[in-house]
């Protein structure tokens, strides 16, 4: 009989329901044969009440994601549910059981749950609700008074597993495509150690999933068949020379696949052990100290690649957060935009915000890609935003250019920019185009006008006089500003811009144009793709 039995389930409702949870619980009960019927039905009922409550109320009918972990210890049962529900306050204390005679049809769930377990705890952390239920087990050989009603001391175990799972999910690597930067390490390990398989395995809930495999390594398997799940219990390299000779591992050996195993844990940036870098082979073998040191070196290489993923995914979140999330409420106008970086982060951005009796619209493209371009893009955005409060279009671009010049000079980067003010009532658009030249107007009569650029990009020449131009959008006209990545969605020439303008003529809203380009850009683009569509209503 193991000291503890753990099961974890991730559910997304819809489509998952409480029945999904029942199925998980069946697998827990099957592994704890000495559990009393009363304990089993009490915890099951409490968990179902909690889950039903989360599914029904959490997001006012929106979907909800949740992770449920159930641990059966010898003296108690613990269940932790973490959910993404918006509701951040549940009145656990105040909920009393409705009077029986009142025949209320609802309101019994929470009081029933409280009656079934010893402690119910709710905490809200980082936008997630964490619920913990603890019930001391009825067992003749344990002193019940010592566990009943006591706050659980080993909730840490559950929280650790939860934190581990969160850290893994935040990495955003699960179920992504193979990447050469990982595959080269597994390939190298396979040939270096002369083994049949090498893998980067991540322990995800109740399964093991491999980010990279070489040889015959298995991409996905149940956690209970995984050896790496033992590796992540500690910080040391785990070596099992012959699985079949070791009672702890014998049932995880597989003919023709795995009988020798060596693995080293992999960590999230916050320190949680999320998986292992491992090699395995069907033939038993010894593994020397020197080989272990080499395995650790390779594991730390994988570790660095993982950290890059993590930092980039954080950076991508920050950058997406800098794009305007709200629609501009400008009566008579319809504005939409999107930005899809070729890598996790990119040098393109668009922006809009109300200014006077209208709006400022910006689309910029930093030459270069990746983090350096992203940092400059964020700076351009901030400088233009503050400059826009003080001057006209030319003034704002002048100020931005002057304050960025030194930075652009140092980095050798330059920025093409379309920056405009739209007057809501007259339809007049005043703009500076700094070397961008990828703005087009689609008129209701079917004509398409490209706006020409007469000025160089920012960062090329400090003495540039920015030339301000003015055009007027009549009712029904659409202005489209794009980055050069949009041209690549067509044949790469400027004709692509006319194709986008033609699209704008056919579309009934700015969002339609954006959606069409987004679909076209999906998965194919090698450059950042950014577009802003400004349409004056008929």
């Amino acid at each position: 009989m193991p000291d503890m039995v753990t099961r974890t389930l991730r559910l997304t409702a819809p489509p998952d329901t409480v029945d999904t949870v029942h199925d998980l619980l069946d697998s827990v009960w099957g592994s704890v044969p000495d559990l009393s019927a009363r304990d089993r039905m009490s915890l099951e009922t409490a968990i179902i009440e909690l889950t039903a409550n989360v599914i029904q109320h959490a997001n006012r009918g929106q979907g909800v994601h949740a992770t449920l972990t159930v641990i059966a210890y010898q003296d108690r049962l613990e269940a932790t549910l973490s959910d993404s529900g918006e509701v951040d306050h549940v009145d656990l204390e105040g909920r009393e059981m409705p009077e029986a005679d009142a025949l209320a049809e609802s309101g019994r769930g929470i009081p029933l749950m409280k009656a079934l377990v010893d402690t119910v705890e709710h905490r809200r952390v980082d936008g997630f609700n964490h619920w913990t239920l603890v019930r001391g087990r009825e067992a003749p050989d344990t002193d019940r008074s010592s566990t009943r009603g006591m706050p659980s001391v080993s909730i840490t175990g559950v929280i650790d597993e939860m934190a581990r799972q969160r850290a893994l999910e935040e990495l955003g690597i699960l179920d992504t495509s193979p990447e050469e930067r990982f595959d080269r390490v597994t390939r190298l390990a396979k040939s270096l150690f002369g083994v049949q398989s090498a893998a980067i395995n991540l322990i995800d809930g109740d399964r093991q999933w491999a980010k990279s495999v070489a040889g015959d390594a298995v991409v996905e398997m149940p956690r209970e068949s995984s050896v790496c799940t033992d590796t992540i219990m500690g910080d040391d390299t785990l070596v099992v020379p012959e699985l079949t000779a070791d009672p702890a591992y014998a049932d995880r050996a597989q003919d023709g696949l795995i009988n020798f195993y060596a693995g080293h844990p992999l960590y999230a940036a916050t320190g949680e052990r999320i998986g292992a870098f491992c090699i395995y082979d069907p033939r038993p073998r010894a593994f020397t100290e020197r080989e272990q040191a080499m395995l650790r070196d390779l594991a730390s290489w994988v570790q660095q690649e993982l950290s890059v993923s993590q930092e980039l995914s954080r950076a991508a979140e920050v950058q997406q957060g800098l794009l305007p999330s709200k629609m501009l409420s400008m009566p008579g106008w319809d504005i939409a935009g999107f930005c899809q970086p070729a890598r996790a982060v990119g040098g393109d951005f668009y922006d809009w915000y109300p200014v006077g009796e209208g709006a400022a619209i910006t689309l910029a493209d930093t030459m270069g890609k990746g983090i350096a371009a992203a940092i400059i893009a964020a700076t351009v955005r901030a400088v233009l935003r503050s400059a826009a409060r003080f001057g006209d279009v030319t003034g704002a671009v002048n100020l931005a250019a002057a304050s960025l010049n030194a930075d652009l000079d140092t980095t050798g980067l330059f920025v093409t920019l379309f920056h405009a003010r739209v007057d809501m009532d007259s339809g007049e658009v005043t703009f500076v185009d700094a070397g961008h030249g990828l703005t087009v107007i689609a008129r209701t009569d079917g004509t398409i006008e490209r706006l020409r650029s007469h000025s160089p990009p920012l960062g090329v020449d400090i003495d540039t006089e920015w030339e301000e131009q003015t055009i007027t959008l009549e009712p029904g006209d659409t202005l489209v500003a794009a980055s050069d990545g949009v041209l690549d969605l067509y044949d790469g020439s400027l004709d692509g811009l006319d194709r986008v303008a033609a699209l704008a003529l056919l579309a009934s809203s700015s969002q339609e144009v954006v959606d069409a380009l987004r679909t076209r850009a999906r998965g194919t683009s090698s450059d950042d793709v950014t577009v802003v569509v400004v349409r004056r209503d008929d």
Binding site: T17, V18, D19, H22, A37, R38, M41, S42, E44, T45, I48, E49, A52, I55, Q56, M97, E99, A100, D101, L103, A104, E105, S106, R108, G109, P111, L112, A115, L116
Partner: protein, 111 residues
């Protein structure tokens, strides 16, 4: 969950439920009781011998059905609740209102 409806003498309708009676299946039990009441057979006996799980949503359906049946001059009575069902009835103080019996016959022996 499976539901079968079995007519008994003296206008008693047996609704035999098996499986889980929870938020997923509660509506179907409620509808089954409603249809018995609509057929002018509001004396309902719910056989729970095969119900492995009842939660507060399922209980809510039984209470709603009981109210409908009582308004039509009948009742909802439970037959052979399992241990888990009894636990829920006790802890919600509903055992005295939704009464349990050993058989469909004894459920309406007072009539």
């Amino acid at each position: 969950m499976d539901i079968s409806i079995i007519p008994h003498p003296q206008g008693v309708t047996e609704i035999s439920v098996s499986g889980r009676l929870n938020m997923v299946t509660a509506a179907r039990v409620r509808e089954a009781i409603q249809s018995a009441v609509d057929d002018n057979r509001p004396r309902v006996a719910i056989t729970l011998e095969q119900v492995v799980f009842l939660d507060s949503s399922g209980l809510g359906a039984l209470i709603a059905g009981m109210k409908t049946a009582r308004e039509a001059g009948g009742d909802v009575r439970l037959v052979k609740p399992t241990e888990q069902v009894e636990l829920v009835l006790e802890l919600t103080n509903m055992a005295g209102v939704l009464r349990s019996f050993d058989s469909v016959e004894s459920a309406y022996a007072d009539a």
